[in-house]
Amino acid sequence: MALLELDAITKRFGGLVANHEVTFQVDRGEIVGLIGPNGAGKTTLFNCISGFFPPTSGTVRFDGTDVTGWPAERLVHQGMVRTFQVVRTFPDLTVRENVMIGAFARTNSASTARKIADEMLEFTGLAPRADVLGANLPIAQKKRVELARALATGPQLLMLDEVMAGLTPAERVQAVELIRAIRARGITVLLVEHVMEVVMPISDRVIVLDSGRKIAEGPPQAIVENPEVIAAYLGEKYRPRREETGEG
Protein backbone atom coordinates (compact mmCIF):
# COMPACT_ATOMS: atom_id res chain seq x y z
CA MET A 1 0.00 0.00 0.00
CA ALA A 2 1.53 3.29 -1.08
CA LEU A 3 1.30 6.05 1.49
CA LEU A 4 3.23 8.61 -0.54
CA GLU A 5 3.36 8.63 -4.33
CA LEU A 6 5.41 11.06 -6.37
CA ASP A 7 4.67 11.24 -10.05
CA ALA A 8 7.12 13.09 -12.32
CA ILE A 9 7.89 15.89 -9.85
CA THR A 10 9.78 18.71 -11.50
CA LYS A 11 10.94 21.86 -9.76
CA ARG A 12 12.54 24.72 -11.62
CA PHE A 13 14.03 27.89 -10.20
CA GLY A 14 14.26 30.09 -13.26
CA GLY A 15 16.62 28.26 -15.58
CA LEU A 16 17.83 25.86 -12.91
CA VAL A 17 16.15 22.47 -12.82
CA ALA A 18 16.46 21.31 -9.21
CA ASN A 19 14.27 18.22 -9.65
CA HIS A 20 13.55 16.56 -12.95
CA GLU A 21 10.59 14.18 -13.23
CA VAL A 22 11.23 12.34 -10.01
CA THR A 23 8.89 9.41 -9.52
CA PHE A 24 8.82 7.02 -6.58
CA GLN A 25 6.58 5.79 -3.84
CA VAL A 26 6.83 5.06 -0.16
CA ASP A 27 4.78 2.23 1.27
CA ARG A 28 3.16 2.18 4.68
CA GLY A 29 5.52 1.07 7.44
CA GLU A 30 8.65 1.46 5.35
CA ILE A 31 11.83 3.33 6.16
CA VAL A 32 12.99 4.86 2.91
CA GLY A 33 16.31 6.65 2.51
CA LEU A 34 16.72 9.45 0.00
CA ILE A 35 20.37 10.06 -0.75
CA GLY A 36 22.50 11.94 -3.20
CA PRO A 37 25.55 14.15 -3.38
CA ASN A 38 25.47 17.83 -2.44
CA GLY A 39 23.21 19.79 -4.75
CA ALA A 40 21.39 16.68 -5.98
CA GLY A 41 18.05 18.30 -5.13
CA LYS A 42 17.18 16.31 -2.01
CA THR A 43 16.10 19.21 0.13
CA THR A 44 14.25 20.83 -2.78
CA LEU A 45 12.32 17.63 -3.32
CA PHE A 46 11.64 17.51 0.39
CA ASN A 47 10.27 21.04 0.30
CA CYS A 48 8.05 20.18 -2.67
CA ILE A 49 6.58 17.17 -0.90
CA SER A 50 6.13 18.86 2.48
CA GLY A 51 4.43 21.95 1.10
CA PHE A 52 7.10 24.60 1.52
CA PHE A 53 6.87 25.37 -2.15
CA PRO A 54 4.79 23.86 -4.92
CA PRO A 55 6.40 21.71 -7.61
CA THR A 56 6.56 23.22 -11.11
CA SER A 57 4.87 20.10 -12.45
CA GLY A 58 3.99 16.58 -11.38
CA THR A 59 1.73 15.31 -8.63
CA VAL A 60 2.13 14.30 -5.01
CA ARG A 61 -0.42 11.86 -3.64
CA PHE A 62 -0.59 11.20 0.06
CA ASP A 63 -2.79 8.54 1.58
CA GLY A 64 -4.78 8.39 -1.64
CA THR A 65 -5.38 12.16 -1.87
CA ASP A 66 -3.81 14.49 -4.40
CA VAL A 67 -1.97 16.94 -2.14
CA THR A 68 0.13 18.68 -4.79
CA GLY A 69 0.79 22.27 -3.76
CA TRP A 70 -0.92 21.99 -0.39
CA PRO A 71 0.72 24.24 2.20
CA ALA A 72 2.74 22.60 4.97
CA GLU A 73 0.28 23.43 7.75
CA ARG A 74 -2.50 21.63 5.89
CA LEU A 75 -0.37 18.57 5.20
CA VAL A 76 0.37 18.22 8.92
CA HIS A 77 -3.33 17.77 9.58
CA GLN A 78 -3.39 15.16 6.82
CA GLY A 79 -0.65 13.22 8.65
CA MET A 80 2.60 14.31 6.97
CA VAL A 81 5.23 16.09 9.03
CA ARG A 82 8.85 17.10 8.45
CA THR A 83 11.92 18.21 10.36
CA PHE A 84 14.55 20.69 9.19
CA GLN A 85 18.13 20.12 8.19
CA VAL A 86 19.19 23.16 10.17
CA VAL A 87 17.38 22.72 13.48
CA ARG A 88 14.65 25.23 14.15
CA THR A 89 13.94 24.75 17.82
CA PHE A 90 11.83 27.60 19.22
CA PRO A 91 14.53 29.28 21.33
CA ASP A 92 12.25 31.12 23.78
CA LEU A 93 10.08 28.09 24.52
CA THR A 94 10.98 25.28 26.85
CA VAL A 95 11.52 21.79 25.49
CA ARG A 96 8.05 20.79 26.69
CA GLU A 97 6.46 23.85 25.10
CA ASN A 98 8.28 23.14 21.85
CA VAL A 99 6.72 19.71 21.75
CA MET A 100 3.32 21.05 22.81
CA ILE A 101 3.25 23.20 19.65
CA GLY A 102 3.31 19.95 17.69
CA ALA A 103 0.71 18.35 19.93
CA PHE A 104 -1.73 21.24 19.36
CA ALA A 105 -2.18 19.92 15.82
CA ARG A 106 -4.27 17.18 17.45
CA THR A 107 -6.02 19.01 20.26
CA ASN A 108 -7.26 22.42 21.34
CA SER A 109 -6.72 21.74 25.02
CA ALA A 110 -3.48 22.86 26.62
CA SER A 111 -3.61 20.10 29.23
CA THR A 112 -4.06 17.38 26.60
CA ALA A 113 -1.22 18.91 24.59
CA ARG A 114 0.95 18.84 27.70
CA LYS A 115 0.11 15.18 28.21
CA ILE A 116 0.99 14.27 24.63
CA ALA A 117 4.19 16.31 24.89
CA ASP A 118 5.28 14.57 28.08
CA GLU A 119 4.72 11.20 26.48
CA MET A 120 6.86 12.21 23.48
CA LEU A 121 9.57 13.57 25.77
CA GLU A 122 9.61 10.23 27.56
CA PHE A 123 9.82 8.37 24.26
CA THR A 124 12.71 10.46 22.94
CA GLY A 125 14.60 10.49 26.24
CA LEU A 126 14.14 14.24 26.70
CA ALA A 127 11.99 14.08 29.82
CA PRO A 128 14.80 15.29 32.14
CA ARG A 129 15.23 18.37 29.93
CA ALA A 130 11.54 19.30 29.75
CA ASP A 131 11.90 22.72 31.38
CA VAL A 132 15.07 23.87 29.64
CA LEU A 133 14.71 26.64 27.06
CA GLY A 134 15.19 25.60 23.46
CA ALA A 135 18.03 28.08 23.07
CA ASN A 136 20.04 26.39 25.81
CA LEU A 137 20.17 22.89 24.32
CA PRO A 138 23.16 21.24 22.64
CA ILE A 139 22.67 20.29 19.01
CA ALA A 140 21.95 16.60 19.57
CA GLN A 141 19.09 17.45 21.90
CA LYS A 142 17.76 20.12 19.57
CA LYS A 143 17.50 17.41 16.93
CA ARG A 144 15.60 15.25 19.39
CA VAL A 145 13.24 18.12 20.11
CA GLU A 146 12.59 18.42 16.37
CA LEU A 147 11.77 14.72 16.30
CA ALA A 148 9.65 14.80 19.42
CA ARG A 149 7.52 17.73 18.31
CA ALA A 150 7.08 16.28 14.82
CA LEU A 151 5.92 13.01 16.41
CA ALA A 152 3.57 14.95 18.68
CA THR A 153 1.52 16.00 15.64
CA GLY A 154 0.52 12.34 15.30
CA PRO A 155 1.90 11.73 11.79
CA GLN A 156 1.53 8.77 9.46
CA LEU A 157 4.61 9.86 7.54
CA LEU A 158 7.65 11.39 9.21
CA MET A 159 10.09 13.10 6.88
CA LEU A 160 13.53 13.69 8.35
CA ASP A 161 15.92 16.10 6.66
CA GLU A 162 19.49 15.15 7.60
CA VAL A 163 18.81 14.33 11.24
CA MET A 164 22.26 12.79 11.59
CA ALA A 165 24.25 15.78 10.39
CA GLY A 166 26.38 17.25 13.15
CA LEU A 167 25.98 14.29 15.50
CA THR A 168 28.85 12.34 17.03
CA PRO A 169 29.08 8.62 16.14
CA ALA A 170 27.64 7.71 19.56
CA GLU A 171 24.73 10.09 19.09
CA ARG A 172 24.12 8.67 15.63
CA VAL A 173 23.74 5.19 17.05
CA GLN A 174 21.08 6.52 19.41
CA ALA A 175 19.34 8.35 16.60
CA VAL A 176 19.22 5.20 14.49
CA GLU A 177 17.70 3.32 17.41
CA LEU A 178 15.15 6.09 17.82
CA ILE A 179 14.15 5.96 14.15
CA ARG A 180 13.66 2.20 14.42
CA ALA A 181 11.51 2.70 17.50
CA ILE A 182 9.44 5.29 15.61
CA ARG A 183 8.78 2.80 12.85
CA ALA A 184 7.83 0.24 15.46
CA ARG A 185 5.01 2.64 16.40
CA GLY A 186 3.63 2.22 12.90
CA ILE A 187 4.98 5.46 11.48
CA THR A 188 6.41 5.49 7.98
CA VAL A 189 9.77 7.25 7.69
CA LEU A 190 11.34 9.04 4.74
CA LEU A 191 14.81 10.23 5.50
CA VAL A 192 17.07 12.44 3.51
CA GLU A 193 20.63 11.73 4.45
CA HIS A 194 24.09 12.63 3.49
CA VAL A 195 25.80 10.15 5.78
CA MET A 196 25.73 6.88 3.83
CA GLU A 197 26.52 4.51 6.66
CA VAL A 198 23.46 5.70 8.54
CA VAL A 199 21.01 5.27 5.70
CA MET A 200 22.11 1.86 4.61
CA PRO A 201 21.51 -0.24 7.73
CA ILE A 202 18.10 1.24 8.61
CA SER A 203 16.51 1.75 5.21
CA ASP A 204 14.29 -0.87 3.64
CA ARG A 205 14.75 0.88 0.36
CA VAL A 206 17.05 3.63 -0.88
CA ILE A 207 16.39 6.19 -3.60
CA VAL A 208 19.34 7.99 -5.15
CA LEU A 209 19.14 11.45 -6.63
CA ASP A 210 21.84 13.02 -8.76
CA SER A 211 21.59 16.41 -10.47
CA GLY A 212 17.87 16.45 -9.75
CA ARG A 213 17.11 13.06 -11.34
CA LYS A 214 16.44 9.72 -9.77
CA ILE A 215 19.31 7.50 -10.86
CA ALA A 216 18.66 4.40 -8.79
CA GLU A 217 16.21 2.79 -6.41
CA GLY A 218 16.35 -0.46 -4.51
CA PRO A 219 17.38 -2.29 -1.36
CA PRO A 220 20.52 -0.87 0.30
CA GLN A 221 22.75 -3.73 -0.76
CA ALA A 222 21.92 -3.31 -4.44
CA ILE A 223 22.44 0.45 -4.16
CA VAL A 224 25.94 0.21 -2.72
CA GLU A 225 26.87 -2.11 -5.55
CA ASN A 226 25.26 -0.07 -8.31
CA PRO A 227 28.18 1.34 -10.36
CA GLU A 228 26.24 4.42 -11.42
CA VAL A 229 25.50 5.28 -7.81
CA ILE A 230 29.07 4.67 -6.80
CA ALA A 231 30.30 6.93 -9.55
CA ALA A 232 27.79 9.68 -8.91
CA TYR A 233 27.70 9.62 -5.19
CA LEU A 234 30.91 8.18 -3.85
CA GLY A 235 33.10 9.44 -6.64
CA GLU A 236 34.74 7.89 -9.68
CA LYS A 237 37.69 6.52 -7.75
CA TYR A 238 35.49 3.99 -5.99
CA ARG A 239 34.25 2.48 -9.22
CA PRO A 240 37.18 0.20 -10.14
CA ARG A 241 37.80 -1.01 -6.62
CA ARG A 242 34.16 -1.82 -6.08
CA GLU A 243 33.97 -3.66 -9.37
CA GLU A 244 37.03 -5.69 -8.49
CA THR A 245 35.74 -6.80 -5.10
CA GLY A 246 32.19 -7.19 -6.32
CA GLU A 247 32.89 -9.29 -9.39
CA GLY A 248 36.26 -10.77 -8.74
Binding site: P71, L93, G102, P128, R129, N136, L137, A181
Partner: protein, 365 residues
Protein backbone atom coordinates in the same frame (compact mmCIF):
# COMPACT_ATOMS: atom_id res chain seq x y z
CA UNK B 1 1.02 22.82 37.73
CA UNK B 2 1.44 19.62 39.68
CA UNK B 3 3.36 21.28 42.50
CA UNK B 4 0.59 23.86 42.89
CA UNK B 5 -2.13 21.27 43.31
CA UNK B 6 -0.01 19.15 45.63
CA UNK B 7 0.57 22.10 47.94
CA UNK B 8 -1.49 22.24 51.16
CA UNK B 9 -4.47 24.59 51.01
CA UNK B 10 -3.36 26.92 53.80
CA UNK B 11 -0.28 27.98 51.83
CA UNK B 12 -1.84 30.66 49.66
CA UNK B 13 0.68 31.59 46.95
CA UNK B 14 2.53 34.79 47.84
CA UNK B 15 1.73 36.25 44.44
CA UNK B 16 -2.01 36.00 45.21
CA UNK B 17 -1.56 37.94 48.42
CA UNK B 18 0.44 40.58 46.56
CA UNK B 19 -2.30 40.76 43.96
CA UNK B 20 -4.96 41.21 46.65
CA UNK B 21 -3.03 44.02 48.33
CA UNK B 22 -2.50 45.69 44.96
CA UNK B 23 -6.22 45.44 44.17
CA UNK B 24 -7.18 47.04 47.49
CA UNK B 25 -4.62 49.81 47.00
CA UNK B 26 -5.96 50.56 43.54
CA UNK B 27 -9.57 50.59 44.73
CA UNK B 28 -8.63 53.07 47.45
CA UNK B 29 -6.54 55.27 45.17
CA UNK B 30 -9.24 57.83 44.21
CA UNK B 31 -9.88 58.43 47.92
CA UNK B 32 -6.21 59.15 48.48
CA UNK B 33 -5.44 61.20 45.40
CA UNK B 34 -8.36 63.62 45.84
CA UNK B 35 -7.17 66.22 43.34
CA UNK B 36 -8.56 65.85 39.83
CA UNK B 37 -5.21 66.45 38.15
CA UNK B 38 -3.59 63.61 40.05
CA UNK B 39 -6.57 61.37 39.40
CA UNK B 40 -6.25 62.33 35.73
CA UNK B 41 -2.72 60.93 35.65
CA UNK B 42 -3.92 57.74 37.34
CA UNK B 43 -6.65 57.35 34.73
CA UNK B 44 -4.14 57.93 31.93
CA UNK B 45 -1.90 55.27 33.45
CA UNK B 46 -4.82 52.82 33.32
CA UNK B 47 -5.74 53.80 29.76
CA UNK B 48 -2.19 53.25 28.56
CA UNK B 49 -1.85 50.06 30.58
CA UNK B 50 -4.94 48.67 28.85
CA UNK B 51 -3.78 49.88 25.43
CA UNK B 52 -0.32 48.42 25.90
CA UNK B 53 -1.84 45.17 27.13
CA UNK B 54 -3.97 45.00 23.98
CA UNK B 55 -0.89 45.82 21.87
CA UNK B 56 1.00 43.07 23.68
CA UNK B 57 -1.26 40.32 22.33
CA UNK B 58 -0.06 41.09 18.81
CA UNK B 59 3.31 42.74 19.44
CA UNK B 60 4.43 40.80 22.48
CA UNK B 61 3.08 37.30 21.94
CA UNK B 62 3.11 37.11 18.15
CA UNK B 63 6.11 39.42 17.73
CA UNK B 64 4.32 41.59 15.16
CA UNK B 65 5.39 45.09 16.15
CA UNK B 66 2.56 47.46 15.30
CA UNK B 67 3.19 51.19 15.28
CA UNK B 68 -0.35 51.92 14.18
CA UNK B 69 -2.52 50.82 17.08
CA UNK B 70 -3.77 54.40 17.51
CA UNK B 71 -5.88 53.78 14.39
CA UNK B 72 -7.87 51.07 16.23
CA UNK B 73 -8.13 53.31 19.27
CA UNK B 74 -9.39 56.17 17.12
CA UNK B 75 -11.86 53.97 15.25
CA UNK B 76 -13.33 52.93 18.60
CA UNK B 77 -13.59 56.54 19.76
CA UNK B 78 -15.20 57.69 16.50
CA UNK B 79 -17.62 54.77 16.15
CA UNK B 80 -19.22 55.24 19.55
CA UNK B 81 -19.18 59.03 19.26
CA UNK B 82 -20.89 59.03 15.87
CA UNK B 83 -23.50 56.56 17.14
CA UNK B 84 -24.09 58.67 20.25
CA UNK B 85 -24.18 62.13 18.70
CA UNK B 86 -26.26 61.16 15.67
CA UNK B 87 -28.53 58.41 16.93
CA UNK B 88 -28.34 58.66 20.72
CA UNK B 89 -26.95 55.13 20.97
CA UNK B 90 -25.47 54.46 24.41
CA UNK B 91 -21.66 54.38 24.38
CA UNK B 92 -21.82 50.94 26.00
CA UNK B 93 -23.29 49.62 22.75
CA UNK B 94 -21.07 51.99 20.81
CA UNK B 95 -18.10 50.39 22.53
CA UNK B 96 -19.08 46.97 21.19
CA UNK B 97 -19.79 48.40 17.74
CA UNK B 98 -16.39 50.12 17.74
CA UNK B 99 -14.69 46.90 18.77
CA UNK B 100 -16.40 45.08 15.92
CA UNK B 101 -15.54 47.76 13.34
CA UNK B 102 -11.91 47.87 14.49
CA UNK B 103 -11.59 44.07 14.45
CA UNK B 104 -13.00 43.85 10.92
CA UNK B 105 -10.74 46.70 9.79
CA UNK B 106 -7.76 44.96 11.41
CA UNK B 107 -8.46 41.69 9.60
CA UNK B 108 -8.89 43.47 6.25
CA UNK B 109 -5.58 45.31 6.56
CA UNK B 110 -3.87 42.38 8.28
CA UNK B 111 -4.53 40.03 5.39
CA UNK B 112 -2.13 41.78 3.00
CA UNK B 113 0.17 43.43 5.54
CA UNK B 114 1.04 40.21 7.39
CA UNK B 115 2.77 39.01 4.24
CA UNK B 116 5.47 41.54 5.08
CA UNK B 117 8.11 40.36 7.50
CA UNK B 118 9.76 42.08 10.45
CA UNK B 119 10.46 45.79 10.08
CA UNK B 120 8.37 46.06 6.93
CA UNK B 121 5.30 45.11 8.92
CA UNK B 122 6.01 47.86 11.45
CA UNK B 123 6.54 50.42 8.69
CA UNK B 124 3.34 49.37 6.94
CA UNK B 125 1.36 49.83 10.15
CA UNK B 126 2.69 53.41 10.45
CA UNK B 127 1.62 54.11 6.88
CA UNK B 128 -1.84 52.61 7.34
CA UNK B 129 -2.44 54.50 10.57
CA UNK B 130 -1.42 57.73 8.85
CA UNK B 131 -3.87 57.00 6.04
CA UNK B 132 -6.66 56.48 8.56
CA UNK B 133 -5.64 59.72 10.30
CA UNK B 134 -5.73 61.64 7.02
CA UNK B 135 -9.11 60.21 6.05
CA UNK B 136 -10.66 61.27 9.36
CA UNK B 137 -8.93 64.64 9.17
CA UNK B 138 -10.63 65.35 5.82
CA UNK B 139 -13.96 63.63 6.47
CA UNK B 140 -16.46 66.42 7.19
CA UNK B 141 -19.26 64.04 8.23
CA UNK B 142 -17.24 63.13 11.33
CA UNK B 143 -16.10 66.70 11.95
CA UNK B 144 -12.88 66.69 9.93
CA UNK B 145 -9.93 68.32 11.60
CA UNK B 146 -12.13 70.16 14.12
CA UNK B 147 -13.33 66.85 15.55
CA UNK B 148 -16.54 66.04 17.40
CA UNK B 149 -18.02 67.12 20.69
CA UNK B 150 -19.70 64.45 22.75
CA UNK B 151 -23.20 65.58 23.84
CA UNK B 152 -23.03 66.73 27.43
CA UNK B 153 -25.22 64.85 29.89
CA UNK B 154 -27.40 67.38 31.77
CA UNK B 155 -30.09 67.10 34.33
CA UNK B 156 -33.38 67.53 32.46
CA UNK B 157 -34.93 69.73 35.14
CA UNK B 158 -32.05 71.91 36.27
CA UNK B 159 -29.95 71.79 33.10
CA UNK B 160 -26.84 71.26 35.20
CA UNK B 161 -24.09 68.75 34.26
CA UNK B 162 -24.79 65.38 35.78
CA UNK B 163 -23.65 61.78 35.94
CA UNK B 164 -25.27 59.39 33.53
CA UNK B 165 -24.52 55.72 33.24
CA UNK B 166 -26.48 55.52 29.98
CA UNK B 167 -24.29 58.22 28.44
CA UNK B 168 -21.18 56.81 30.14
CA UNK B 169 -20.50 60.29 31.49
CA UNK B 170 -19.55 61.40 34.95
CA UNK B 171 -19.47 65.16 35.17
CA UNK B 172 -19.41 65.44 38.96
CA UNK B 173 -15.95 63.97 39.55
CA UNK B 174 -13.43 61.69 37.90
CA UNK B 175 -13.57 58.76 40.33
CA UNK B 176 -16.13 56.71 38.30
CA UNK B 177 -13.90 57.04 35.25
CA UNK B 178 -11.04 55.69 37.31
CA UNK B 179 -13.01 52.60 38.29
CA UNK B 180 -14.21 51.95 34.74
CA UNK B 181 -10.65 52.30 33.43
CA UNK B 182 -9.51 49.91 36.14
CA UNK B 183 -12.19 47.43 35.09
CA UNK B 184 -10.99 47.70 31.48
CA UNK B 185 -7.41 47.01 32.53
CA UNK B 186 -8.58 43.96 34.47
CA UNK B 187 -10.65 42.80 31.50
CA UNK B 188 -7.79 43.06 29.00
CA UNK B 189 -5.40 41.46 31.48
CA UNK B 190 -7.74 38.52 32.11
CA UNK B 191 -8.07 38.03 28.35
CA UNK B 192 -4.28 38.17 28.07
CA UNK B 193 -3.88 35.52 30.77
CA UNK B 194 -6.41 33.30 28.99
CA UNK B 195 -4.60 33.80 25.68
CA UNK B 196 -1.26 33.15 27.37
CA UNK B 197 -2.35 29.73 28.59
CA UNK B 198 -4.34 28.64 25.57
CA UNK B 199 -3.44 27.09 22.25
CA UNK B 200 -3.60 30.59 20.75
CA UNK B 201 -0.88 31.85 23.11
CA UNK B 202 1.40 28.89 22.41
CA UNK B 203 0.91 29.29 18.67
CA UNK B 204 1.59 33.04 18.78
CA UNK B 205 4.84 32.48 20.65
CA UNK B 206 5.82 29.80 18.15
CA UNK B 207 5.08 32.24 15.32
CA UNK B 208 7.22 34.89 17.01
CA UNK B 209 10.10 32.40 17.33
CA UNK B 210 10.10 30.82 13.87
CA UNK B 211 7.26 30.99 11.38
CA UNK B 212 8.47 28.22 9.09
CA UNK B 213 9.02 25.83 11.97
CA UNK B 214 5.52 26.69 13.20
CA UNK B 215 4.06 25.98 9.75
CA UNK B 216 5.86 22.64 9.65
CA UNK B 217 4.01 21.71 12.84
CA UNK B 218 0.61 22.57 11.42
CA UNK B 219 0.26 26.17 12.56
CA UNK B 220 -1.78 28.25 10.13
CA UNK B 221 0.41 31.33 10.64
CA UNK B 222 -1.74 33.91 8.87
CA UNK B 223 -4.94 32.76 10.58
CA UNK B 224 -3.46 33.07 14.06
CA UNK B 225 -1.89 36.45 13.32
CA UNK B 226 -5.31 37.66 12.15
CA UNK B 227 -6.93 36.39 15.34
CA UNK B 228 -4.27 38.22 17.36
CA UNK B 229 -4.66 41.51 15.50
CA UNK B 230 -8.47 41.29 15.74
CA UNK B 231 -8.33 40.84 19.53
CA UNK B 232 -5.74 43.60 19.84
CA UNK B 233 -7.79 45.98 17.68
CA UNK B 234 -11.09 45.21 19.42
CA UNK B 235 -9.76 46.03 22.88
CA UNK B 236 -7.90 49.11 21.63
CA UNK B 237 -11.24 50.32 20.25
CA UNK B 238 -13.07 49.66 23.52
CA UNK B 239 -10.52 51.82 25.30
CA UNK B 240 -10.96 54.42 22.54
CA UNK B 241 -14.65 54.70 23.37
CA UNK B 242 -13.87 55.09 27.04
CA UNK B 243 -11.31 57.78 26.28
CA UNK B 244 -13.76 59.71 24.09
CA UNK B 245 -16.31 59.67 26.90
CA UNK B 246 -13.64 60.78 29.33
CA UNK B 247 -12.44 63.74 27.24
CA UNK B 248 -15.91 64.50 25.83
CA UNK B 249 -14.19 65.72 22.70
CA UNK B 250 -12.32 63.85 19.98
CA UNK B 251 -10.37 64.82 16.91
CA UNK B 252 -7.88 62.91 14.78
CA UNK B 253 -5.02 64.62 16.59
CA UNK B 254 -5.95 63.32 20.06
CA UNK B 255 -7.07 59.83 19.05
CA UNK B 256 -4.98 58.81 16.04
CA UNK B 257 -1.65 60.59 16.00
CA UNK B 258 1.57 58.65 15.49
CA UNK B 259 2.97 59.59 18.91
CA UNK B 260 0.09 57.73 20.49
CA UNK B 261 0.93 54.55 18.57
CA UNK B 262 4.58 54.89 19.50
CA UNK B 263 3.79 55.50 23.15
CA UNK B 264 1.52 52.43 23.30
CA UNK B 265 4.30 50.24 21.92
CA UNK B 266 6.88 51.90 24.13
CA UNK B 267 4.90 51.28 27.31
CA UNK B 268 4.77 47.55 26.50
CA UNK B 269 8.42 47.41 25.45
CA UNK B 270 9.59 49.27 28.53
CA UNK B 271 7.61 46.97 30.80
CA UNK B 272 8.59 43.78 29.00
CA UNK B 273 7.02 42.39 25.83
CA UNK B 274 5.25 39.07 25.89
CA UNK B 275 4.67 39.09 29.64
CA UNK B 276 1.32 39.67 31.31
CA UNK B 277 2.63 42.16 33.88
CA UNK B 278 4.99 44.03 31.53
CA UNK B 279 2.55 46.50 29.95
CA UNK B 280 1.02 47.30 33.35
CA UNK B 281 4.41 47.99 34.91
CA UNK B 282 5.50 49.98 31.85
CA UNK B 283 2.44 52.24 32.05
CA UNK B 284 2.84 52.79 35.80
CA UNK B 285 6.41 53.98 35.26
CA UNK B 286 6.33 55.77 31.93
CA UNK B 287 3.00 57.63 31.91
CA UNK B 288 3.44 59.63 35.14
CA UNK B 289 6.98 60.46 34.02
CA UNK B 290 5.75 61.56 30.60
CA UNK B 291 2.90 63.63 32.05
CA UNK B 292 5.14 65.35 34.58
CA UNK B 293 7.82 66.22 32.01
CA UNK B 294 5.13 67.54 29.69
CA UNK B 295 3.72 69.72 32.45
CA UNK B 296 7.20 70.97 33.31
CA UNK B 297 8.28 71.65 29.76
CA UNK B 298 4.92 73.07 28.80
CA UNK B 299 3.99 74.12 25.31
CA UNK B 300 7.46 75.32 24.41
CA UNK B 301 9.05 71.89 24.29
CA UNK B 302 6.49 70.11 22.20
CA UNK B 303 8.84 67.59 20.64
CA UNK B 304 10.98 66.95 23.71
CA UNK B 305 8.79 64.09 24.92
CA UNK B 306 9.25 62.46 21.52
CA UNK B 307 13.02 62.78 21.81
CA UNK B 308 12.79 61.13 25.21
CA UNK B 309 10.71 58.27 23.81
CA UNK B 310 13.25 57.70 21.06
CA UNK B 311 16.13 57.72 23.52
CA UNK B 312 14.25 55.27 25.76
CA UNK B 313 13.67 52.83 22.91
CA UNK B 314 17.38 52.92 22.05
CA UNK B 315 18.43 52.44 25.67
CA UNK B 316 16.01 49.58 26.30
CA UNK B 317 16.98 47.70 23.18
CA UNK B 318 20.68 48.01 24.00
CA UNK B 319 20.69 47.36 27.72
CA UNK B 320 17.45 45.71 28.70
CA UNK B 321 15.66 44.06 25.78
CA UNK B 322 13.37 42.22 28.18
CA UNK B 323 12.15 45.47 29.74
CA UNK B 324 11.51 46.12 33.40
CA UNK B 325 10.10 42.62 33.90
CA UNK B 326 13.44 41.21 32.73
CA UNK B 327 15.19 43.45 35.24
CA UNK B 328 12.89 42.30 38.03
CA UNK B 329 13.57 38.65 37.19
CA UNK B 330 17.31 39.20 37.11
CA UNK B 331 17.32 40.93 40.49
CA UNK B 332 15.13 38.26 42.03
CA UNK B 333 17.46 35.51 40.88
CA UNK B 334 20.51 37.34 42.15
CA UNK B 335 19.02 37.72 45.63
CA UNK B 336 17.55 34.23 45.88
CA UNK B 337 19.30 31.29 47.56
CA UNK B 338 19.58 29.28 44.35
CA UNK B 339 19.19 30.58 40.82
CA UNK B 340 16.10 29.19 39.17
CA UNK B 341 17.09 30.68 35.85
CA UNK B 342 17.58 28.29 32.98
CA UNK B 343 21.10 26.89 32.99
CA UNK B 344 23.63 28.36 30.64
CA UNK B 345 24.68 26.42 27.62
CA UNK B 346 27.80 25.06 29.31
CA UNK B 347 25.92 23.88 32.37
CA UNK B 348 23.31 22.29 30.16
CA UNK B 349 25.80 20.35 28.09
CA UNK B 350 27.85 19.32 31.07
CA UNK B 351 24.88 18.04 33.01
CA UNK B 352 23.12 16.29 30.20
CA UNK B 353 25.85 14.10 28.72
CA UNK B 354 25.81 11.40 31.37
CA UNK B 355 22.06 10.85 31.81
CA UNK B 356 21.27 11.31 28.12
CA UNK B 357 23.64 8.65 26.87
CA UNK B 358 21.77 6.10 28.87
CA UNK B 359 18.44 7.90 28.52
CA UNK B 360 17.25 6.18 25.45
CA UNK B 361 18.50 2.75 26.49
CA UNK B 362 16.34 2.92 29.58
CA UNK B 363 13.39 3.81 27.45
CA UNK B 364 13.81 0.73 25.37
CA UNK B 365 14.72 -1.64 28.14
Amino acid sequence: MTTATARPIRAIPRSWIALGVLALALLALPLVLRSDSRLNIAILVLVYAALAQAWNILGGFAGQISLGNAAFFGIGAYTSTVLLSRWEVTPWLGMLAGALVAAIFAVIIGYPVFRLGGHYFAIATIALAEIVYTIFNDWEWVGGATGMLIPFARDIETGRPTNSLYYLQFNLGKAPYFYIALALVVLVTVVTVIVDRSKLGYYLRAIKNDQDAARALGVHVLRYKLIAIAISAAFSAVIGTFYAQYLLYIDPETTMRLELSVLIALVAILGGVGTVAGPLVGAAVLIPAAELTRQQLGGSGNAIDLILYGALIVLISIFQPNGLMGLVQRLRHRGGPRPTATPTEQQATAREEAPMLGGYEEERG
